[in-house]
């Protein structure tokens, strides 16, 4: 256990906020004299993708001077491009485009919910991130009539003010799962697995499991928390159905979402989840984000989301159930272009996680698990350190996300207009509108 840091004084907050916010601005705008930091970015999230996300989070617009569409991973989304129509065939710039997403397609009596954009926020637990970050996301979800997930760390009381926009996650450790939070949620998400660590369960290392976090999770402070895997009450689709029935009893109106990873038989897992009663099947690919995961699990176990979506989409079509279930994709979805490509490959919508954090200042330095300091993220994102978590204020974070979502929505509409589509639903499974760039990046 390290040193307990005090909350920062108002003056220190003022200084740090000024320097950070000014720094993001300096790096995102073309008219400043500073280049992008040489050490910023990687193959998946290039320096330009990170800086363009900062630009969007500040302006609500896509930058013209940065590549905000693709990374340099050499595969998947980065190799796919859209076959835009000739200008005269495209929809006009002011044409209405519907990008809403209906989530309950089962036709049952449970809540019917349509969100305003075809994406929502993925699970990040209290402990892996701060309440300020959770609230920033929740407030923005409320503003955009979309959702965000609690992750596996309980339901901080502040979240209740956004309860209609908060998904309660039930994961294998059942950390912080309470009847009250299940009853408050419009959607309950069963997390079977996570893309960054498929088959392994959650991690929260000791240095981040402080007093408040442990209290929320019903655990001992400063003891590493390793969620078991799998759900020890679930070894079959029949068990899974009982699981869902249990939650349906606790909350008679909520939709059920099932989050799974992307193994070889992901198509059958998805169909099994549907027949067990899921309204949403959420696939989390192997390039997904995490607060802490064994390095060997990332990428090596399970498949990237781009490869799983068409497999599941086609299998569900063959089973005749595709229109009865909402297929959500996550794990490496970084941009509006990625969202559109995921939908063209067969998803109905996406879940964003890392990109929300990047919008709030993440540089992807990979020290979320605590880092050598043990305090967590120096940007105040993936930390519950009393000082560091104050670097992200709720209003500021929500505003960044609001503008970022504005840019994403605009770009998504722009793509749809370019393809002559007036609804994002019409894009689903339209691989004929994609082109594979064999010779280089899209």
């Amino acid at each position: 256990m390290g040193k307990e840091w005090p909350k920062p004084s108002p003056k220190l907050l003022e200084k740090t906020h000024h320097l950070m916010h000014d720094g993001f601005h300096q790096r995102a705008f073309p008219d400043t004299r500073y280049d992008l930091p040489e050490a910023l970015g990687d193959a998946r999230w290039t320096d330009e993708l990170i800086a363009s996300t900062w630009y969007m989070a500040e302006t609500g617009k896509c930058p013209e001077h940065l590549n905000y569409k693709t990374g340099k991973s050499g595969g998947g989304f980065d190799k796919l491009a859209f076959k835009e129509l000739a200008p005269e065939q495209q929809l006009s710039a002011d044409a209405e485009v519907d990008i809403t997403l209906a989530l309950n397609r089962r036709g049952d009596e449970r809540v019917k919910r349509t969100i305003d954009v075809p994406w929502y926020g993925g699970g990040m637990s209290y402990g892996s991130v701060s309440v300020n970050v959770m609230m920033s996301r929740a407030l923005n979800a409320k503003k955009w009539n979309t959702l965000m997930s609690t992750g596996e760390g309980g339901y901080p009381p502040q979240l209740y003010e956004c309860a209609e926009n908060v998904i309660t996650q039930v994961a294998t450790g059942y950390f912080g799962v309470e009847e009250k939070s299940i009853q408050a949620a419009p959607i309950i998400e069963f997390k079977y697995a996570q893309g960054a660590k498929p088959g392994l369960g959650g991690h929260l290392l000791a240095t981040k499991a402080g007093e408040e976090v442990a209290k929320m999770r019903g655990s001992v402070p400063f003891v590493s928390l390793f969620s078991p895997f799998p759900f020890h009450s679930t070894y079959s689709v029949e068990d899974h159905m009982k699981h869902l029935d249990w939650i349906k009893t606790v909350n008679p109106t909520a939709m059920m979402s099932v989050k799974v990873s992307t193994p070889h038989d992901v198509d059958m897992v998805a169909v099994g989840s549907y027949y067990a009663g899921a309204h949403i099947v959420h696939l989390d690919g192997s390039f997904g984000g995490t607060g802490a995961a064994p390095e060997i699990a990332k990428k090596n176990i399970a498949m990237p989301i781009e490869l799983a979506i068409p497999k599941v989409h086609k299998f569900m079509q063959d089973e005749g159930i595709r229109d009865n279930v909402t297929l959500i994709a996550s794990g490496g979805v970084r941009t509006a272009d990625d969202i559109a490509k995921a939908i063209a490959l067969g998803a109905d919508g996406c879940v964003l996680g890392t990109s929300d954090l990047v919008a709030m200042g993440c540089t992807r330095c990979s020290n979320c698990e605590g880092g050598p300091s043990g305090r967590g993220c120096p940007w105040g994102l993936t930390t519950t350190d009393a000082e560091l978590q104050e670097w992200v204020q709720q209003a500021w974070g929500a505003d960044r996300l609001d503008k970022y979502y504005t840019a994403l929505a605009d770009r998504l509409k722009e793509i749809l207009r370019g393809l002559g589509l007036s609804s994002v639903g019409d894009l689903r499974g339209r691989t004929d509108l994609l082109r594979y760039m064999a010779g280089g990046e899209a």
């Binding site: 220190l12 991973s73 980065d78 991690h203 399970a302 497999k311 330095c365 979320c368 004929d432």
Partner: protein
């Protein structure tokens, strides 16, 4: 009530064989004693610091004039608010030395870039070219940095954020391993609540037991078990004698695996032991008799049918080394026909055969040839070459190896710097730390072994595979990036070989 129960001798029923004659408390004590005697296999890891300075990840440059200007400005702006005046943008201590940013401590930098983002006018963080220059096109600086961390800490590297690299890739990167959402043992096995076995057998498994007329076992199985599916292979010639073989022999004994060393080294340094495999040239195969002190296995350094005939019936296990060159497969089949039960397949350090094929293809070819012949369980396949990271270990086993040989990673664990050609076996110039001593070296190898075994458990647990023996040749547990791309993108215009 409980004490009363404990003191009471349990009543005997009509079946004496199940009668418990001891008081319950005494019985519980004995059970505890028995449980305490049980030791699940594990490798003792202890954090072991680097002996020579490892190149740092980042360089941090701070403009002194810019910094002085900032401090001057902030001193007056925040006068009296000393927490603000003395606050630093780094939580890792880069600017926490006696003179702060005037003499930064870049060794502590983790690349969060907060300092450079906040103070672009005078702070610059750059990748350290010295680190990037380590390794080569195959054994990259990232592999080397990871091995160094594993050998230092002995634990599984855990980090935040998702994968940062390329989508697929050559070599072992073209494979993703499978997982299951609901199958045990999974994580319970990883954290010790269930057992996931990592031991493997070397030698020929008997397909059936045969007995004499009077019921005695005719031939006992000629095989042995090691506790991990990896062995240590001989270091390059430049460090083939001296302390390195001693370190490897001691580490092999503690891990309960094997180390392959030249016969001359074993003899000259007195290293013969149950965990040391002397490598003997066919011309000197008669020397097999001279290796005592519990030696269980020797290796013939290349295939020679006449030499094999001399040792075929020898009580020691004999493996035969087979490089991936020329018509290796025909040679392998000939060896099998001649009764060789342990074949040690060897590629170059980059995992390639002499015609440039990668071991994942070669291993499958070897494995499935034996499956086709119907004798796979009668032969142990060891594969050496191209293992540069923990993930390569299960992938090599999935493609057909019973166990895998480690080579360069062992030297890197001891902070060796490799210069020159690291593709050809034996050619790499190896520079070890000047302060290398046996105790330190052994612990670094133990740490690496522990970390890699634990990472193997993560992969096995994710799949729900209970023992590594069952992973051998389980290509159904592999997902090939190319195949998946074909399936996912095959109907998309521009995809090679398909699409509109």
């Amino acid at each position: 009530m409980l004490a009363k129960e404990a003191d009471r001798k349990s009543a005997s029923t009509d079946d004496e064989s199940v009668t418990i004659q001891l008081p319950l408390a005494e019985q519980a004590r004995l059970n505890r004693e028995r449980a305490d005697q049980y030791h699940r296999y594990h490798i003792e890891a202890t954090e072991t610091e680097d002996r020579q300075k490892y190149p740092r990840r980042f360089n941090v440059k701070v403009g002194k004039v810019g910094l002085a200007r900032l401090l001057f400005k902030e001193f007056f702006k925040y006068f009296g608010h000393w927490d603000v005046v003395f606050s630093r943008p780094c939580t890792y201590g880069v600017f926490s030395g006696p003179v702060g940013g005037f003499s930064p401590r870049p060794d502590l930098c983790v690349g969060c870039l907060r300092c450079e983002i906040q103070h672009p006018e005078f702070v610059k963080v750059t990748h350290n070219p010295e680190l990037a220059s380590l390794g080569d096109s195959y054994m990259t600086s990232k592999h080397i940095a990871t091995i160094d961390e594993e050998a230092r800490k002995g634990s599984v590297p855990v980090r935040g954020q998702g994968f940062r690299g390329r989508f697929g890739g050559p070599g072992f990167d073209q494979m993703f391993t499978d997982m299951s959402e609901i199958v045990r043992p999974s994580r319970d096995g990883i954290h010790g609540r269930e057992l996931i076995g990592t031991s493997v057998d070397l030698g020929s498994k008997p397909m059936r037991l045969e007995f004499t007329a009077d019921g005695k076992l005719l031939d006992g199985p000629k095989m042995m078990t090691i506790q991990v599916p990896f062995v240590y292979t001989a270091p390059p010639d430049s460090v083939g004698t001296g302390i390195v073989p001693e370190i490897l022999a001691e580490a092999a004994a503690q891990v309960d695996t094997l180390v392959f060393l030249p016969e001359s080294t074993v003899t000259a340094q007195g290293l013969a032991s149950p965990n040391v495999v002397p490598m003997i040239a066919p011309s000197k195969i008669g020397n097999i008799e001279s290796h005592g002190n519990g030696t269980r296995m020797v290796e013939m350094t290349y295939w020679n049918p006449d030499a094999w005939k001399q040792v075929k019936e020898h009580p020691l296990l004999v493996s035969v080394r087979l490089p991936f060159s020329g018509d290796w497969k025909s040679t392998m089949m000939e060896m099998v026909d001649q009764g060789v039960s342990i074949i040690h397949l060897v590629s170059d350090y980059h995992g390639e055969s002499d015609d440039g094929r990668f071991v994942m293809d070669l291993y499958q070819e070897a494995h499935f040839s034996l499956v086709e012949k119907g004798c796979r369980d009668e032969v142990t396949l060891l594969g050496t070459g191209g293992i540069a990271g923990a993930d390569h270990l299960p992938k090599a086993i999935i493609t057909g190896m019973d166990a895998v040989g480690l080579d360069l990673p062992l030297l890197i664990a001891m902070q060796a710097r490799l210069n020159g050609d690291t593709k050809s076996r034996g050619a790499a110039e190896v520079k070890l730390p000047s302060k290398l001593d046996k105790e330190w070296g052994v612990q670094r190898i133990l740490n690496l072994s522990c970390s890699w075994r634990d990472q193997l458990l993560e992969i096995l647990g994710a799949m729900g595979v209970r023992e590594v023996r069952r992973l051998r040749g389980e290509t159904g547990r592999a997902m090939w990036c190319g195949h998946l791309e074909q399936e996912a993108f095959g109907d998309i215009e521009g995809f090679p070989g398909g699409g509109h």
